[in-house]
Symmetry: C2
Subunit: 248 residues, 2 copies
């Protein structure tokens, strides 16, 4: 397709593209994508992060770059830089605080703009923060890009694992390999009495990983520090030893 | 528009339609919608619940009705019944476990089917569980239905409140009144030492409610019981005294 050819041309200096996805919203996908990108950059790689969650872009806030705007040179966006990661978000195409109230064809159009018109330069990894669901944006991304693989994010809870299965089925249909699953918000440790609470219940992730034959890349505890650091625009990059960083 | 006329005709015996919405996924919108419907039914009202989250329908699981299927009579769906609530979900239009990989026009088509072809009978309230984001489904719902009002669900966290503002702006554009905001996962109380943890940080909801001039309908703690009851298909209806139930 013409879009796939244009995308291949624009991204010819990008070695691999990793989609971070979860069909269910609110499981921590954007936080994992931001921290994965920062961990990869810390290991010396050239890393880009594309926030394709057009209806709910959170990367500008996660990197503390919500007040900035990318330069435009020769009609192309120059990504912003934070923690050694080059970042571009659909959030920069709309006035701050305004919702992107768009139907399918328009939202695919916005996605094409940020995919084709961002000047990434040479990258080892381009990390894609995908939106929840399996609509226009996911379909356009899978059709336009040669994805190296997908990382699936889930909480331990049964209801969230139903959506994980749907996501895996979607990537299988378009022959994108699943690199693994990250379990997020695994447990909460009370700092009052050190009790461990499985707040989302006993984990169904190991069983699911076994059924689909995919590795568990890491388990991240529910940590209020992640909440406050995210609000302040400092991706914690799981400074306390990161399961994803190590996985790569 | 012809769709709006057809919808008005189909839903002529429905007194009021309440959309439960949050632009950000994973804040507990579906759980609040299910429990709001159950609370209203307990107070004696005739209540329907329409799961319009086509990409991630969770009402069948929340009511323990995932294995069932609605009857079809005279080419119309007969809603299932749980806890005194008549429930219909887009989830029943797809094989279990299969993702709805659909572009905008198709997903609007699916929505029209469940809106126009479900036989609700006379209702005091029809509660709509909306999908996250501001795409095709939200636009179609706002154009096709005469909504009585919208209830917005949010966690206390700053990042989530950004999306709340967007949702309020969207409803204002289409002149749908905001009935109020429900703060969910306000705090977690450790059962080991009774310490209260504001896991999503200090709440920004009261300030936001003041800025927009909307009431806070209730605050629901983060309770692991809600997680386990939801997985078992028994909406807790916040048995422990519900802020939303009381609000209506
Ligand atoms: N491990 C974690 N511990 C505590 N809070 C987390 C963790 N991961 C994510 N969060 C919080 O959970 C919420 C949802 O995360 P986000 O990355 O926005 O999810 P998604 O992209 O799946 O919608 C955010 O408020 C974020 O700060
Ligand atoms: N007050 C609460 N306490 C604990 N867990 C909750 C609470 N409200 C919702 N949850 C859990 O949070 C997750 C997201 O809830 P859900 O209703 O599916 O959100 P949304 O519809 O916004 O995506 C589910 O796993 C649900 O069981
Ligand atoms: Zn404790």
């Amino acid at each position: 397709s013409p879009l796939a050819e244009q995308a291949a041309e624009t991204l010819r200096d990008v070695r691999s593209i990793i989609a971070v996805s979860s069909c269910k919203g609110g499981v921590g996908k954007s936080t994992v994508a931001a921290n994965l990108a920062v961990s990869l950059a810390r290991s010396g790689a050239a890393v880009g992060l594309l926030d394709a969650d057009i209806y709910g872009p959170s990367q500008p806030t996660l990197f503390g770059l919500a007040e900035k705007k990318p330069w435009v040179e020769d009609q192309r966006f120059v990504p912003l830089e934070g923690c050694g990661v080059r970042m571009m978000s659909a959030g920069y195409l709309f006035p701050p605080g305004e919702a992107a109230v768009l139907r399918g064809p328009m939202v695919s159009n916005v996605l094409q703009q940020i995919l084709l018109k961002t000047r990434w330069g040479g990258l080892d990894y381009l990390v894609l923060d995908m939106p929840p669901g399996t609509g226009d944006i996911q379909i356009t991304v899978c059709q336009a890009l040669r994805l190296t693989g997908a990382v699936i994010v889930s909480t331990p809870q049964k209801i969230s694992l139903l959506d994980v299965g749907k996501g895996i089925a979607m990537f299988d249909k378009v022959k994108v390999p699943i690199l693994g699953i990250v379990e997020n918000m695994s447990e909460f440790i009370c700092d009052g009495c050190d009790k461990h609470h499985a707040i989302f219940g006993p984990s169904g992730v190991p069983r699911l990983a076994e059924i689909y034959g995919i590795p568990v890349l890491g388990r991240i505890p529910f940590s209020p520090r992640i909440v406050t650091e995210s609000d302040r625009g400092r991706p914690p990059a799981f400074a306390d030893g990161t399961p994803e960083g190590a996985a790569y």
